[in-house]
């Protein structure tokens, strides 16, 4: 049974999302270039996680201009510890990220599965951005997206698991 995609949305939003038109009709699919046991996997979240040592996502500008969202991203190393994590996101309650950031970026779970040889390896660098990109999609398409693809290829990543927040 399919899950209810609108279960946790404010009711007034449901109709708009249901009526949201189909965006793409052309299939696109790359297959793994290596067996899963050799595959290097990177993770990506749009939950606004960042390291305390990094610059936070810019929520001040969004407060001044609600149609803008910070389009930058942060690199999160695979061995990041819970106490190194912060989060900035004006559309979510980030409380749980200070308890267990694996709910959005499961580096610990993937490290465990890697040690059990369920796949090749977890990438050294994983990625986080702040998912409110109201006006930022062209920027991602033209700038951050291509830049990220170069970084994935430089790291020898075979697959990317993306988790919208």
């Amino acid at each position: 049974m399919p899950i209810d995609s609108y279960r946790y949305l404010p009711r007034s939003f449901r109709e708009g999302f249901e009526a949201f038109p189909i965006q793409e009709t052309e299939p696109v699919k790359a297959n793994l270039a290596v067996p899963i046991t050799d595959a290097k996997i990177a993770l990506m979240t749009s939950s606004g996680l960042y390291l305390e040592s990094q610059e936070p996502f810019d929520t001040d500008t969004e407060l001044e201009n609600p149609l803008w969202g910070d389009p930058t991203y942060r690199e999160i190393p695979r061995n990041t510890k819970q106490q190194e994590i912060s989060a900035a996101h004006l559309h979510l309650n980030t409380r749980d990220y200070y308890v267990d950031f694996n709910v959005a970026l499961p580096l610990d779970r993937f490290a465990e599965l890697e040690s059990e040889k369920r796949f090749g390896s977890l990438a050294d660098i994983n990625y986080s951005f702040m998912g409110y990109q109201q006006a930022g999609t062209p920027d991602w398409r033209n700038n951050q997206g291509p830049e990220l693809i170069v970084k994935l290829k430089e790291q020898g990543v075979h697959a990317l698991i993306l988790a919208p927040a």
Partner: protein
Amino acid sequence: MPVLARLVEEAGIPTVVVTMMPDTAAKYELPRILGVPFPFGHAFGAPNDIEMQREVSEAAIGLLTDESAAKVRKDLEHLEWPQDDRTAYKDWQPSEPSPIVGYNANRRDKLEEKNKDQ
């Protein structure tokens, strides 16, 4: 994020999108969608629920090896969030409404004001 997933696929790197809104992700014709019945912000499950996070992670890895169809969507509908819907709905939301919510309310008020004047 679906836009990015397509770009990455086009560059030859397979992707899996793990999302609480698989119906919306499907509108982007993505090749691998994993639907999760969790509140926003928690694509891999509840805090400190290692078993739940692991099951989602394993399912995501599993989709990477499924090359049978042009696209695949799997929903983990059997997973249960540890809070009732009402509490979970309240808990995922920020303590202050996001700026766009205030902005839209302001616009709506102005429009209603304008309609009243006419």
